[in-house]
């Protein structure tokens, strides 16, 4: 399955007062969208809304969710401050929409069969659910895959895509750790990256654990790391010392934690993305430059494009850095600042 975002329509959500952001070129979805604009122009809001709207496909019965702890938990917080938001999608070539209407202003939305969404009338606390032709299929697939281990091996790939969101406030996984811990990657329809304070391992321990426990996946991951073009650096496990060794182009080796902070940042982001990425997914990356030097910005962008050639996905990023405009191109760039 392949999901692409075609447009986002918003009424009254933060800086986005009444806008429609087009993600297409001549009707076809752009593979990379760069959202640019001044601080406060609504770039992060747009990503949050995309994520929140897609999460609505997990709702099939408002009564059931209400009894399970309240609709507020099931609906992302940002929607509660939004008057209307609608995401137009292309799923396997078929157009569909998901919307949130609060209070109901677009009554025609309810009558259209290709829209899935929630209508909230705050006056009488009346929640309405509109299901589309796609709703049941997506809901069943999400339920079937949710919490199942993600299969990274190329001969048995997961076929149901997901939405991967890397927010701006992303504390990265520690590179070093005291213990080697097992960390299983499980499928989530809408995955928001966050570093859990309870996480006892490290990126290094994850690689060592993979080497022992999941050799097939380990090889897959290590091949990916070695293809990242870190100035010719290659990665391997030194079993005797239970450590990851980095071999430089001139043949010398150093410890994993001696990589520069920029390299670590880049590695963790790409590894986190790679180990969760299923073909046909949508990846949202807020402030892609996040403390990276322009040289590393280039490297990250090139690696993302390379990854996209291997595994098709739609990439939507926000940035203030012209570097990404140059690499990803002006064609897919949308300026949110009103001028």
């Amino acid at each position: 399955m392949q999901i692409n975002i075609l447009s986002l329509t918003v009424k009254n959500c933060g800086a986005l007062k009444d806008v429609k952001i087009e993600f297409t070129d001549n009707g076809q979805p752009e593979s990379v969208i760069v959202l640019g604009g001044a601080n406060g122009s609504g770039k992060t809001t747009a990503l949050e809304l995309i994520f929140a709207l897609l999460a609505l496909f997990k709702i099939q019965d408002t009564r059931l969710i209400t009894t399970q702890g309240g609709l507020f938990k099931a609906i992302q917080n940002i929607l509660m401050y939004t008057e209307y938001a609608e995401l137009e999608l292309l799923i396997d070539g078929k157009k569909t929409s998901v919307f949130f209407d609060n209070p109901p202003i677009l009554t025609e939305a309810i009558s259209q069969g290709n829209k899935h969404g929630i209508v909230l009338n705050r006056v009488n606390h009346d929640w309405g659910l509109q299901c589309s032709d796609m709703s049941q299929h997506l809901y069943d697939s999400i339920r079937l895959n949710e919490e199942q281990p993600i299969n990274l091996s190329s001969n048995k790939p997961n076929i149901f895509p997901s939405i991967l969101y890397f927010p701006h406030h992303r504390e990265l996984l520690p590179v070093t750790g005291e213990q080697i811990h097992r960390e299983e990657v499980k499928y989530q329809w809408c995955y928001r990256y966050q570093n859990h304070s309870s996480f006892l391992g490290s990126l290094e321990s994850y690689l060592i654990w993979l080497d022992y426990a999941e050799p097939e996946i380990f090889q897959f991951v290590i091949d990916m790391l070695n293809q990242l073009n870190f100035e010719g650096k290659t990665f391997s496990i030194h079993r005797k010392t239970l450590s990851v060794k980095v071999k430089t182009r001139d043949g010398s080796t150093h410890a994993f934690n001696q990589l520069s902070s920029g390299e670590q940042n880049l590695l963790i982001l790409l590894l986190e993305l790679r180990r969760r990425l299923i073909p046909g997914s949508v990846v949202l990356l807020d402030e892609i430059e996040n403390s990276l030097h322009p040289a590393f910005q280039h490297r990250l962008a090139q690696n993302l494009l390379q990854l996209q050639r291997q595994i098709p996905f739609q990439l939507i990023v926000t940035t203030h850095q012209p570097t990404f405009l140059k690499i990803f191109g002006e064609k897919g760039t949308r300026i949110l600042t009103e001028f």
Binding site: D25, L325, I335
Partner: protein
């Protein structure tokens, strides 16, 4: 309220708006103008974004296109006066709804060549033997240089009005040989020598009438030519592009720090462009 559609823009406009953010966009003719304005208004760069699409016609075209797409209308253009009339200049500066401003002086260089600034810089510049004792003498010397450039400027004016695409006389062209300038003009315009001479004389008369004081002279004398002639007359260094740019930078800073910006410039930027936001 209609829904604002955010979609694909032209590559150039995308790049400019990406950089501009929520700052006011001011389009300038060239890289030289950009450097000057960014230096003069560096304290305002949080509110204003200067961009040079290259050339006067590009400024006008780009401004028109951008304004058509703009909802806030905070896009402006500043172009050289060149050979425009007082009426055209005054209209652009006095129209409250104007987005395109024409400099009152010939070009941005004419605002750099303030006699005191030129004198101040030449005093410490590697010179042949600089013997100008104060800025009032410098002013007289500059007016004399303007007079020396009169025929060359008049010839360029005639070429401009002919609109045949004929080549202009470039900076550094020998200005003292009047007969040669007239002859070359006739050749470039492919016109009768006497006819061309008559046209040049007409322009020379207009230029001469403006040479009573610097402020008037600088409306008709091209500052780029004058800058080149100043370096030629007063310095012993080769007149390479790098030297000219270096001297221009020195003047840019001196004008701002020791004299203060000309009221024309302050009026356009501070009163007409930046104060617009206060009115909203």
């Amino acid at each position: 309220m209609t829904t604002r559609i955010i979609n694909q823009l032209s590559p150039e406009l995308t790049t400019i708006l990406f950089e501009a953010g929520n700052r006011k966009l001011v389009l300038l003719e060239g890289k030289d103008d950009l450097e000057v304005f960014e230096e003069w208004f560096k304290e305002d760069l949080n509110e204003i974004y200067f961009h040079a699409p290259g050339g006067c016609s590009n400024v006008e075209t780009f401004l028109k296109e951008t304004l058509e797409k703009s909802t806030k209308g905070e896009v402006y253009g500043i172009i050289d006066r060149d050979f425009r009339t007082d009426e055209e200049v005054n209209a652009s500066l006095s129209d409250n709804s104007a987005h395109l401003f024409i400099l009152r002086r010939y070009a941005i260089e004419n605002y750099l060549l303030e006699p005191f600034a030129v004198w101040e810089e030449l005093r410490i510049y590697p010179s042949k033997s600089f013997k100008v004792f104060d800025s009032s003498i410098m002013e007289k010397n500059l007016l004399k240089l303007c007079e020396d450039l009169k025929t060359l400027i008049a010839a360029n004016w005639v070429i401009h009005e002919a609109s045949t695409g004929a080549k202009y006389f470039q900076e550094g062209y020998i200005m003292s040989d009047r007969a040669n300038i007239i002859q070359q003009s006739a050749k470039r315009l492919n016109l009768d020598l006497a006819k061309v001479e008559q046209k040049i004389v007409e322009k020379e008369v207009i230029i001469q009438s403006k040479l009573d004081r610097i402020d008037n002279a600088y409306q008709v004398i091209d500052g780029k030519h004058l800058l080149h002639q100043i370096l030629y007359q007063y310095t012993s260094e080769p007149k390479t592009k790098i030297r000219v740019e270096h001297f221009r930078r020195l003047l840019t800073r001196t004008v701002k720090e020791k004299i203060g910006l000309h009221t024309d410039i302050v009026w356009i930027i501070k009163q007409r462009i930046l104060s617009e936001s206060a009115k909203r």
